[in-house]
């Protein structure tokens, strides 16, 4: 499972396109497309870099205990859409 106690942010080569269902993410480096399937998850994912840890970002959005958000972060980290930030 992804380490939630560090800072994550979107990879600089990732573009986010808002959609009614959430967002499409495209990584210009890996050419991979991902789907974020809720507007709430898009807000959390795009704000990750502003928080010292992913857990703080989840807490700020009031979804710390919601497993779907953690899974979203884990999946995006696995596909390098998200990277560790200092």
């Amino acid at each position: 499972m992804v380490d939630l106690d560090v800072r994550w942010r979107l990879h600089p080569q990732v573009a986010v396109r808002p959609e009614p269902f959430g967002a499409l993410l495209y990584h210009f480096g890996t050419r991979k497309l991902s789907f974020v399937k809720s507007v709430g998850a898009v807000e959390v994912v795009t704000a990750l870099g502003e928080h010292p840890t992913a857990r703080d970002a989840l807490r700020a959005a009031g979804v710390e205990d919601d497993v779907t958000y953690r899974k979203a972060i884990a999946t995006l980290a696995e596909s390098r859409m998200l990277v560790r930030a200092p």
Binding site: A15, Y26, R31, K37
Partner: protein, 389 residues
């Protein structure tokens, strides 16, 4: 975050912008493949100018269309081709372009190797010259291999070898894979469509029912790392749901579309015909307007009737198959795909049918005589210096 049915339904209702889009830059081509989707050969005098192409790119950037699949014709014979590729990547529109390799010399290969945002797809329809050249024309195998060699030598990573699966090359899938491995390339295989000149050869070239099974089995067993462009969703009824990778839905007018060399927008790359013409970017106030408001695309985004396929247990898997394949073989749109894996397409194909007349054709007169690469090797000084007729 794998797609789930809910997301597929979203896609079927259409997105505000396509996920990706095919853009054919020219109808001019040095080859005359027998199955050409766009019946290419001669340049069209109305082809978009450099400025008009850049305007399209600006619009795609605003709409956040992440990448375009550029094709043709042979797109690299446009004298402004590299200028447009650079313009697109500078404007956050990634480029994947399809080529027969005619212009991929050592110098071009080195330039491509230096770019992070350009993908190259070399078309090859046989793993041997004999099989390939019968479809793509004399010398075309050697031309494609030379391009792959140049790319590989220049350090270009992960070129794509793009294969249209036919009756004659379906037995060569392992050989194609070996060829791709040799050049550090990825194999991409797609379905033969009866579109363009393909309508004339489809009956003889499309894989037989037994070969469809062979193809499906190969994809399930060896398909990891093989690209298919979601091309074979009509085969999903051959096995368990989800056994084939991909979304397995027809994205025409919903998540994909085609812009042709004169700015006409069609529902998909396999549907260059008035029946699937949504509008024109020049006369209908730009691409975004056509994408979002055209009557055709609105209709395609409505729930589609399952028609004769409604009672089939595999309907959820194949959704009735490919719209273009049905249309160009003269089958009803709300019936089975001509290559329906349950065999429902066969009686329909055997019955009397009316194939639609093509609504455009840029083939060179007299068909294929000999390869004509030399006349096009030097780009015309100005776009229109070379007579399109």
């Amino acid at each position: 975050m794998n797609p789930v049915p809910r997301l597929v339904e979203q896609f079927e209702r259409g997105l505000d912008a396509p996920i990706c889009l095919t853009w054919e830059l020219t109808y001019a081509c040095n080859l005359s493949c027998v199955h050409c989707l766009s019946s290419s050969g001669k340049r069209d005098p109305r082809e978009l100018t450099t400025r008009q192409c850049k305007d399209v790119i600006d619009e795609l950037e605003r709409m956040q269309v992440f990448y375009v699949n550029i094709g043709g014709g042979e797109p690299t014979v446009r004298s402004d081709f590299w200028e447009l590729v650079d313009y697109a990547t500078e404007h956050h529109v990634g480029v994947k372009f399809s080529t027969n390799g005619v212009r991929i010399d050592e110098k071009v290969a080195a330039k491509l190797a230096a770019s992070d945002y350009v993908d190259v797809q070399i078309s090859l329809d046989g793993a041997t010259a004999e099989v390939n050249d019968a479809v793509r024309g004399p010398g075309s195998f050697a031309m494609a291999i030379r391009a792959l060699e140049n790319l590989s030598a220049a350090g270009f990573r992960d070129a794509k070898i793009s294969v249209v699966v036919t009756r004659h090359n379906v037995g060569q899938l392992d050989e194609f894979k070996a060829l791709a491995d040799r050049y550090g390339a990825t194999l991409r295989i797609t379905r033969l469509r009866p579109s363009g000149r393909g309508a004339d050869v489809w009956d003889e070239l499309h894989p037989t029912a037994a070969q469809q099974v062979q193809l499906y089995d190969w994809l399930v067993a060896r398909g990891d790392g093989i690209l298919t462009g979601d091309s074979f969703f009509h085969l999903s009824g051959l096995g368990q749901p989800g056994a084939l990778a991909g979304l397995n839905l027809c994205g025409a007018g919903r998540v994909v579309c085609l812009i042709d060399p004169v700015g006409d927008v069609y529902a998909c790359p396999f549907a260059i015909h008035d029946r699937f013409l949504a509008g024109n970017i020049l006369s209908d106030s730009g691409f975004q307007n056509v994408w979002q408001n055209s009557a055709l695309f609105r209709e395609l985004r409505e729930p589609q009737s399952a028609g004769a396929c409604g009672s089939c247990e595999h309907f959820d898997g194949c959704r009735g198959g490919c719209m273009a394949a049905k249309f160009f073989t003269g089958l009803p749109m709300d019936g089975p795909d001509p290559e329906c894996v349950q065999g429902y397409g066969e009686p329909a194909l055997a019955a009397e049918r009316d194939k639609p007349k093509p609504s455009g054709d840029h083939s060179r007169a007299g068909g294929r005589k000999a390869p004509v690469p030399l006349t096009l090797l030097t780009p015309p000084k100005k776009f229109c210096n070379e007579s399109p007729v």
